[in-house]
């Protein structure tokens, strides 16, 4: 590295604060893109900034997503609970955090998860998976098609 460059004013890439919108914090770094996909953030025109592989005492490496101009309904945001159970939401209005929310595993899950039963119809035809959540703490999902249980250890996100 050339010496002269270090002497210059260091360039800083900062993830700026948002005026109005939602900050999703404490997303595990390895599920960041799943969260983006589940919330459909890859299909919207709003300004979004995210950082990943940030240090976190709780998660090891975490990610953070800032979405300008969007507030989520509980029902929508809870869909990320399977991949980011520790996620915390900061609701921002006029640069101020006006509300903090946590995500909760919903009573039913549509899409997102894969049924672990290799003989289930959802693994043969193009069917959106549907599950009833039979346990929230140690997540257990009952497939509404084959009626088999998919447990946390066997949980695969589609």
């Amino acid at each position: 590295m050339r010496k002269g460059r270090i002497m210059k004013e260091p360039k800083q890439l900062s993830v700026s604060a948002i005026q109005n919108g939602t900050v999703i914090d404490h997303v595990p770094a390895n599920t960041l893109f799943k969260v983006i996909q589940i919330l459909g953030l890859d299909h919207i025109d709003n300004q979004i900034t995210f950082g990943t592989n940030l240090e976190s005492k709780k998660l090891g490496r975490k990610a953070i997503i800032k979405i300008s101009g969007i507030y989520f309904e509980d029902e929508d945001i809870n869909r990320i609970a399977l991949v980011a159970p520790e996620a915390k939401l900061n609701i921002i209005k006029d640069y101020e955090v006006v509300e903090k929310r946590v995500v909760e595993v919903p009573d039913s899950i549509t899409g997102i998860a894969k049924c672990m039963n290799p003989k289930c119809i959802t693994n043969f035809e193009s069917v959106t998976t549907k599950f009833k959540v039979v346990s929230k703490k140690n997540v257990a999902l009952k497939c509404l098609y084959c009626e088999k249980i998919t447990t946390q250890e066997n949980l695969q996100i589609i």
Binding site: K119, I121, S126, Y145
Partner: protein, 302 residues
């Protein structure tokens, strides 16, 4: 129940089950009626199941309905690579109700979402076979006069047996006491025992049944299959333990009846067949009445 599908026994409330059983009784008295005249029923058997198919077709024929369908997937467009989605969408246009047997679990629920006509699940892999459960319930009520407070012995393969799981879950609605008799390898899965624990029903597990069957109201036999054992020696050890013989029935209750979903191989010795407590062939006949009741209920005819 008009225009509903029957995919899983849990789809029906206790009242609805009783309604089906009452209606089955009516059909037993008068099984040949022109109630399905002008109706076309599709019987789609993606895997062969001669007994179930013939029972359905007999039920339909006796009521004057017409049958379209196939008896195994090789004679359908599935062999050309058609998806289940497309098969159901097409067949839906040709009939008033679909009876479907398919090796993939959950296929019946999927079909019922696609079809606009009612779908009856005639077995979806290891998952559900609700018409078998209803005919079992009918046979139990008919022979015992009630479904309440019975002592049911389930014998054989309780781990993989779809019929015993569904029957157990259904009978749990009527304060049943269960005795599970099986080799250790083929015990009733924990999830079902947990269910009984949660609702406070008693069950007992045994590995042999010769000394205890005097308490039984119903003995429900199933086949212990060689291929379920990872160690063939284990199979050899147990294969004769779960065979019911006429001599074993001496001290059983007078009301006791032996049920079996059939086909039987050797788990009920043929010397039992002549015993008035053997009920498995009548049970198969009851399947026709029960299926008539189900068909007519879902079509809104009865």
């Amino acid at each position: 129940m008009k225009n509903r599908s029957l995919v899983s026994i849990d789809d029906f409330s206790t009242q609805e089950i009783i309604k089906i059983l009452d209606l089955s009784e009516e059909f037993e008295k008068e099984p040949t009626r022109k109630l399905l005249e002008g109706k076309v029923i599709a019987t789609l058997f993606f895997e062969p199941s001669t007994r179930t198919r013939l029972s359905f077709e007999s039920a339909i024929s006796r009521l004057g309905g017409k049958i379209v369908g196939f008896s195994d997937a090789s004679s359908s467009s599935v062999s050309k690579g058609e998806t289940l989605n497309d098969t159901i969408k097409t067949v839906n246009n040709y009939c008033d109700l679909i009876v479907m047997r398919h090796p993939i679990e959950g296929s019946a629920r999927f079909a019922s979402e696609i079809a606009t006509v009612p779908v009856i699940n005639a077995g979806d892999g290891a998952n559900q076979h609700p018409t078998q459960t209803l005919l079992d319930l009918y046979s139990i009520r008919k022979t015992q006069g009630t479904l309440d407070n019975l002592n049911i012995f389930m014998v054989g393969d309780l781990k993989y047996g779809r019929t015993v799981h569904s029957l157990m879950m259904a009978m749990a609605r009527w304060n049943t006491t269960f005795n599970f008799i099986s080799p250790v390898e083929l015990r009733m899965p924990d999830e079902y025992k947990l269910y009984l624990d949660n609702i406070g029903l008693k069950y007992y597990e045994h590995t042999d049944f010769t000394d205890i069957i005097s308490k039984a109201d119903i003995i429900y036999m199933t086949r212990v299959q060689r291929e379920r054992f990872s160690d063939p020696i284990e199979y050899e050890k147990v294969k004769n333990v779960y065979v019911l013989r006429n001599t074993m029935l001496k001290n059983t209750k007078p009301n006791m009846r032996i049920l079996h979903p059939l086909p039987r191989v050797n788990e009920i010795h043929t010397d039992v067949d002549k015993n008035p407590k053997a009920y498995y062939f009548e049970q198969a006949l009851n399947g026709v009445y029960t299926r008539q009741a189900i068909l007519c209920s879902l079509l809104g005819i009865k």
